[in-house]
Symmetry: C2
DNA sequence: AGAAATACTTGCACATTGCAAGTTTGATTT
DNA sequence: AAATCAAACTTGCAATGTGCAAGTATTTCT
């Protein structure tokens, strides 16, 4: 756990991973526009560190050599349970602005949400997971 | 989630909570002796912030007015799923030194481990959770 | 060839952290 | 009762990390 916190014991790393996981953010610009207000140098540094740790990988887009697409690795997508629990905790104990019913659904269908998150990652499906709930 | 990371987006807060949860650490001195090497000023600051956030509470020991006993609140013990997932992730993807079999057991009995963690908190049972596994 | 877009890097002020030492309050010993 | 010890902090300061504004490199568009 101490090792995990060497990597995630900062303000931004987990937010970046969350943006990749639930918003399908892929590019530097998208991360900047995520609204949390990360500085460009910090973003560059975190992407570098997460890449070095094998949590994400980077590749330049085939059709546009300017763009770099970041993508979670298996190690990265395995953080989904941590992020989901953190989200549920925040929704329960902090004023998150998220509707209670939605959060209750997510807590109830925890395993399905995790499976669906992984499926979207595997199939590169960029559909956001938040508005859709339940197996049916 | 951004709100959660305002609180836990640092190197030490979650480690302190982990030490309270799995090692039943209660006093300033015990936290210092946990082996992670936190500085005294940082420890004091984090305890203050976690207390202000309602994640733990402090009370001076009745029989020894020097000692302050820290204890997780309901809000604090609710972080157990996050910590467990982080532990399992670290065990899977980083060299944690923890035996694989033990971690596999924890992953399998996730719900039981969480229930047992909460029971120990409610009953103030200081038995460490790590060497004991399975419902039977 | 020139302008625009994307992904960074750099310089610098400011905040946070870590270490060592000191302070405060309460218990224990003589 | 005085001196000593113990636990929980606080303080000072150097080093490290962060955030903002600006600049650079490479690639694409016109």
């Amino acid at each position: 756990m101490s090792l995990s916190l060497d990597m995630f014991g900062d303000r931004w790393s987990l937010l970046i991973i969350r943006d990749m996981m639930v918003r399908s953010n892929k590019t530097f610009k998208e991360f900047l526009a995520s609204g949390e207000g990360i500085a460009t140098n910090i973003l560059a540094d975190r992407l570098r560190r997460l890449k070095a740790a094998g949590i994400l990988m980077a590749e330049v887009e085939a059709t546009d050599g300017r763009k770099v697409n970041y993508r979670l690795t298996e190690k990265g997508i395995d953080l989904a349970p941590v992020l989901l629990d953190l989200l549920l905790w925040g929704a329960k104990h902090e004023d998150s602005g998220a509707p209670c019913a939605v959060m209750a659904e997510m807590a109830k269908n925890r395993d399905w949400v995790l499976a669906e998150t992984r499926r979207r990652w595997e199939e590169r499906d960029p559909t956001p997971i938040l508005p859709k709930f339940g197996p049916g």
